[in-house]
């Protein structure tokens, strides 16, 4: 970390121009003073909170519906036939391409941005859930069935716990993707939010502000991924395979 900072300071403060041009990038000191100014302003926290709120709502909706749809598709042939083609067609669409429609579709840009975050996070969750269910050893299910377990009981006690490590892997990916999309959506149609702040700084050609925005996004993304990892580790600790 310190080495990267030192290199950055060295390259920018000495206006190095060796193919890559560092002459006009802000120095770490400039970024730091911009960050200090931001930390003292109320709008900075409001921006952080707005982005976090959008991530939390969008991601939670995606996690819940994604896991449910994934389980349905993984367990039921009917659901698989009905939903799989829809999922596969919608999945390659970059969520950010939905911005123009989202602006028209939702009553406010807030819901639009949450929808885009949700859309982005939904597919990694569904797909990893489906794959986690298909990867379960069939002997587990057979064993439970010979002991007289019903469909619901197998689902709750064998399939879901068994699939959890895979589901959490999907959630982790989904969190990363949803950050990318919430930021891009804010840049285009946001009102508050750290992506909005970053883009506005660019509009004013305030490059120190742009870097502060980027670093804030990095820190928030790191924080949320860490939370997912912790929760995942905790949930999976009770599983024989998850402890690893």
């Amino acid at each position: 970390m310190i080495a990267v900072l030192a290199l950055w300071q060295l390259l920018t403060a000495n206006h190095v121009h060796l193919w890559l041009n560092f002459t006009k990038l802000p120095t770490p000191t400039e970024v730091f003073s911009e960050l200090q100014a931001q930390l003292k302003s109320g709008t900075y926290y409001r921006n952080l909170l707005s982005s976090m709120e959008r991530i939390v709502i969008g991601f939670e909706l995606a996690a819940v519906t994604g896991v449910l749809v994934g389980i349905a598709v993984g367990r039921s042939r009917l659901a698989a036939c009905a939903l799989r083609p829809l999922i596969e067609i919608a999945r390659p669409i970059p969520a950010i391409a939905l911005v123009p429609l989202a602006i028209l579709l939702f009553p406010s840009s807030e819901e639009g941005i949450i929808f885009i975050t949700y859309f982005a996070a939904f597919f990694p969750v569904v797909v990893s859930t489906i794959h986690a269910m298909q990867a379960l050893p069939t002997v587990w299910e057979d064993a439970a069935r010979t002991m007289g377990a019903g469909r619901v009981s197998i689902l709750l006690n064998v399939v879901i716990p068994g699939a959890l490590p895979g589901i959490f892997a999907g959630l982790s990916v989904a969190m990363g993707v949803s950050w990318i999309c919430v930021i891009s959506a804010e840049m285009i149609s946001g009102q508050f939010g750290i992506g909005y702040y970053t883009w506005q700084s660019y509009g004013l050609l305030d490059y120190a502000g742009v870097v502060v925005g980027m670093l804030s996004i990095g820190a928030l993304g790191f924080l949320t991924s860490w939370v997912i990892e912790r929760v995942g580790a905790r949930v999976n600790r009770w599983l024989p395979r998850g402890a690893r």
């Binding site: 602006i103 004013l204 050609l205």
Partner: protein, 480 residues
């Protein structure tokens, strides 16, 4: 084609130069192997129709390339022009900061930001070398609301969201405008959006108003998706678009600067001589409706195309600076150093000072109104009707005469343009609020207003007058 990444100078020799030379200057032999190639990167905003004479139309007509080719014949240099399109000024400035654009055109506020941001670096320091078009009162920036909005004055927007592009001329106009009605910027909520995004946000009522630059406000009005709430002309601060160049490049290639400004001048002359044809061509290229382009760029239009650097425009920059300093996007800018009229002066020759001093629109409505039998010469009343299927517009001495022509014409009307009764700002007749004043002269009984508050004010001071909409105003003639 991208520029060579390692060469910082613009002059390339060798095989590429030979190839380009032999392609462009047909008939050249091996002697041209010694010739060099000069690359010019020109940034422009295709949809900002205030800069078409330094962008969209200039590129389309190839004037600049032709002048450079003629120049190259005498000097043996080959010029290669690259055009780069941008949605607004700030990204263009970002590219100029990175030395990737040599000449660029943008609005007044982004121009000042450009000057201030680039001033810190010797290689990308910019200077203002010319103007594309201007409006002395500031009517190029306007605030529109949805047609059914309850807001009728700017004060009605207190606490509401206004979509604008932060740091643009429109943002500056809003800052001035709120001051005019006794509010401050903190009384409204500004939302930073690209104009096209703001337009869709307004259509869906996600924002209460849209404060933007040309051509967006009147585009919304023409499409019946917006109603004018505030005309930037009320602020009475000149607004314009400027041509900027990187000083280091300009010093190395003064002949390119002069050729560019000569081309801008030629294109401006063409627009002023053939406004309807120019508007239709721009409409074809940009996808903006020709009726909207012609509202701005036509005779007596909101934009006056003239590359000379006029005193009121330099004064306006001095007026604009404090706002940008407050915003934090301009630290300091020495306008005396920033403005360099050397190239535009050379492009105009002896006539420069005369043209620069003139503040009259070279493109005005002149002629005779055959229907009303009156001369068309007063820009405060001269109107124009563009009937469907016609290559020329029909002149009208007054808005009333224009309505009479429309009412008696069999066939469709593409657009009718009338000047606002209070300010003279050119409007779409069907978007205006009309007032019938029976006490006035027959040819000026029907008066168009851009703002319904102005119309209401007229009715209060003229008790016999009454307000009506466009169809009712037209119906007066159908009945008569």
């Amino acid at each position: 084609m991208t520029r060579p990444s390692l060469t910082r100078g613009r002059v390339r020799t060798g095989a590429a130069g030979l190839l380009a030379t032999s392609l462009l200057a047909a008939g050249c032999t091996a002697s041209s192997a010694a010739a060099s190639t000069v690359t010019v990167d020109v940034g422009y905003q295709s949809k900002t129709i205030n800069t078409i004479n330094a962008g969209t139309l200039l590129r389309d007509r190839g004037t600049f390339e032709a002048k450079l080719a003629a120049l190259g014949k005498t000097t043996g240099t080959t010029y290669s022009v690259h055009w780069l399109d941008f949605p607004s000024g700030p990204p263009l400035t970002a590219q100029m900061l990175a030395d990737k654009v040599d000449i660029g055109s943008m609005g007044d506020y982004p121009t000042l930001v450009n000057g201030s941001k680039t001033a810190q670096y010797a290689d990308s320091k910019s200077e203002l070398i010319g103007i594309t078009g201007y409006n002395l009162r500031g009517s190029l920036n306007q605030i529109v609301v949805p047609p059914d909005s309850p807001a009728h004055t700017l004060a009605d927007l207190r606490g509401q969201v206004i979509s604008t592009s932060i740091g643009s001329a429109a943002h500056g106009m809003i800052a001035n405008a709120v001051g005019h009605v006794g509010m401050s910027l903190s009384d409204v909520r500004l939302l930073n959006q690209e104009p096209s995004v703001g337009a869709s946000a307004l259509m869906n009522h996600q924002v209460a108003a849209l404060g933007q630059f040309v051509p967006w406000p009147q585009l919304m009005v023409f499409r019946k998706q917006g109603r004018l709430l505030y005309d930037g002309g009320t602020n009475n601060v000149a607004t314009f678009h400027a041509v900027l160049a990187r000083q280091s490049y300009a010093k190395a290639h003064p002949e390119v600067m002069q050729a560019f400004l000569e081309s801008v001048k030629d294109t401006s002359d063409y627009i002023n001589a053939q406004p309807l044809a120019a508007a239709q061509r721009v409409a074809t290229i940009t996808g903006i409706e020709p009726e909207v382009v012609y509202l701005y760029n036509g005779p007596n239009g909101l934009v006056t195309f003239d590359p000379t650097i006029k005193q009121p425009l330099t004064d306006a920059m001095a007026t604009d600076l404090p706002f940008l300093k407050d915003l934090g996007s301009v630290t300091n800018l020495d306008l005396g150093q920033f403005v360099n009229d050397q190239y535009v002066r050379a492009a105009y020759g002896a006539g420069y000072d005369t043209t620069r001093a003139s503040l009259t629109d070279p493109d005005t409505l002149h002629g005779t109104d055959t229907a009303c039998n009156l001369p068309v010469d007063n820009p405060r009343t001269a109107s124009e009707v563009w009937f469907a299927g016609q290559d020329v517009t029909s002149l009208a001495a007054s808005p009333t005469c224009a309505l009479q022509q429309i009412a008696t014409h069999t066939g469709a009307v593409r657009a009718a343009y009338v000047p606002d009764t209070v300010t003279g700002t050119r409007l779409f007749a069907d978007a205006a609020v009309w007032v019938l004043d029976p006490t006035a002269e027959p040819a000026s009984r029907l008066l168009p207003f851009a703002l319904d508050t102005d119309a209401a004010g007229y009715v209060i001071s003229h008790p016999q007058a009454r307000q009506m909409d466009y169809p009712s105003a037209l119906a007066r003639f159908a009945a008569a």
